[in-house]
Amino acid sequence: MKLTDISANINEWFDGSGPLADIVISSRIRLARNIAGHKFLSRCSVAEKSEILKKLRDTLMSLELGDKVFYLSVDKTSLLGRHFLVERHLISRHHAFGNGPRGAVIAQREFFTAMINEEDHLRIQVLKGGCQLSQCYEQINRIDDMIEQKVDYAFSPRYGYLTACPTNLGTGIRVSVMLHLPALKMTGQIEKFLNATRDMGLAVRGLFGEGTEAAGDFYQISNQVTLGASESDIISLFENAIIPEIVEYENAARNQLLSKEPEVLDDKISRAMALLRNAHLISSQEALFLLSHLRMGINMREHLGASTPAIEKLSGLSDASRGTDKSETLSISTINRLFMLTQPAHLQLNYGKQLGPERRDALRAEIIRSALNG
């Protein structure tokens, strides 16, 4: 399987389906594990790392995961390929640009990835569209049980699963949800929200782009405490407290925009439409920022029944990606597609060669123009 087999399409968890997907784009659960009888990676020689890699690769490739899986030798993957895997959220930045023998086992439908020799010997993740944390856990727990039948994990009754960094100790679980919060940003409440989540001991990061800067109003929040709380406690905190509250706030902010500042809302959406449909050079930051406003407009129409002049005009754009059937209105999955396919590594991989920033900006603008001009 080649990366170009998947790079022309968006992954399943990003197609706009799933519960609450207008605000909660996707749910992810990751478990950190190490094999007993081996040192942690920082003290392993290349030979020992290779031994761990082989053992875990063989184990994972033998599992029945309900989908075709393929193995990638990350240290032998091209730089562009590694950037692509990060953009796709299949592997972490740390894994992509680390060193030593390391690999990834990836399910073809991209709901599952195992990173071998990242910071821990093994990190497995399950990703699903919308708010589906319980379902993610059920699946990853089953996979974890299957692995456990074949390898011994480093585990202590007192400290739980032993991880290279004490911040992952215990359950080794990282629960994350990716959120689209444009209205909280527009109404100036985002800082308040970010501070409140940090006060609850949660980590907040941007979903796209480098570093922690949140591009296009996409945020990822995740737990930091992994010891002394059970997996189900942590998941239930997200499902029953954190997520409903955030969704309520974002919806309240969207309604507030509709009732009190419809001109502000329409201005943002119309400007985004005008730029995206006409620009000939567009950076990935700008594209994310503008597409975010379109995404909000379409979701407000679908979920809140919003019907302002700009939103009507937006949904009246024919969906070029649907071919000859021009009766279809612009869909969320088309917008999501643009988010993903206009990322730098996606652009280059689908174009077939490396491109300088200016060529990328031109190509990106071209893809967006043709998608939005029917």
Partner: protein, 165 residues
């Protein structure tokens, strides 16, 4: 409120300075704040957190009054100093070897908690003794390969395979 420097972006950093009883307020966006050198880091990096936590504890030297601070893990050879620098431990037994120093940090990172209460592997894992032995054999194997003593290496490899069955 717009940034008073660039007048373009939203001001998100608000600085209040009181000099000689005179109060001045500065409102900047993140970028300008960074340029002016007043940006506050929103989150400490994990390394910074770890270093500051370990630094705030009395060192073993102060506690024991001897040179115990150079203790290294008998199983993997790593030291606390290396952990402070890299933020990762050397092997699972570091949690026992450096328990005293790690515990305050573990509690701090996990909201005061220090005992696991989640999933437990259904399969009872290999005994501690056997795991330590495996690590030791692997270390010897590495040394044997380095010294090009392939006979010994093969022997050790067999021993490891036997114990892993």
């Amino acid at each position: 409120m717009y940034c008073q420097n660039c007048q373009e972006k939203e001001a998100t950093i608000h600085l209040t300075e009181i000099t000689d009883g005179l109060r001045t307020e500065t409102h900047l966006c993140e970028q300008c704040a960074q340029k002016e050198g007043v940006a506050v880091k929103s989150q400490l990096s994990i390394n910074e957190l770890l270093s500051s936590l370990l630094a705030s504890q009395p060192s073993d030297d102060e506690v024991f009054g001897d040179s115990k601070q150079n203790t290294s893990c008998p199983h993997c050879g790593s030291t606390l100093e290396q952990f402070t620098k890299n933020a990762v431990l050397g092997c699972p037994y570091d949690y026992e070897v450096f328990e005293k120093s790690l515990l305050p940090l573990i509690k701090k990172a996990h909201n005061g908690k220090k005992t696991h209460c989640g999933k437990v592997p259904s399969k009872t894992s290999t005994g501690t003794k056997k795991q330590i032995e495996l690590m030791k054999l692997r270390q010897e194997l590495e040394a044997a390969v380095q010294n090009e003593d392939y006979e010994l290496a093969a022997e050790l490899r067999d021993k490891i395979n036997q114990r892993e069955k």
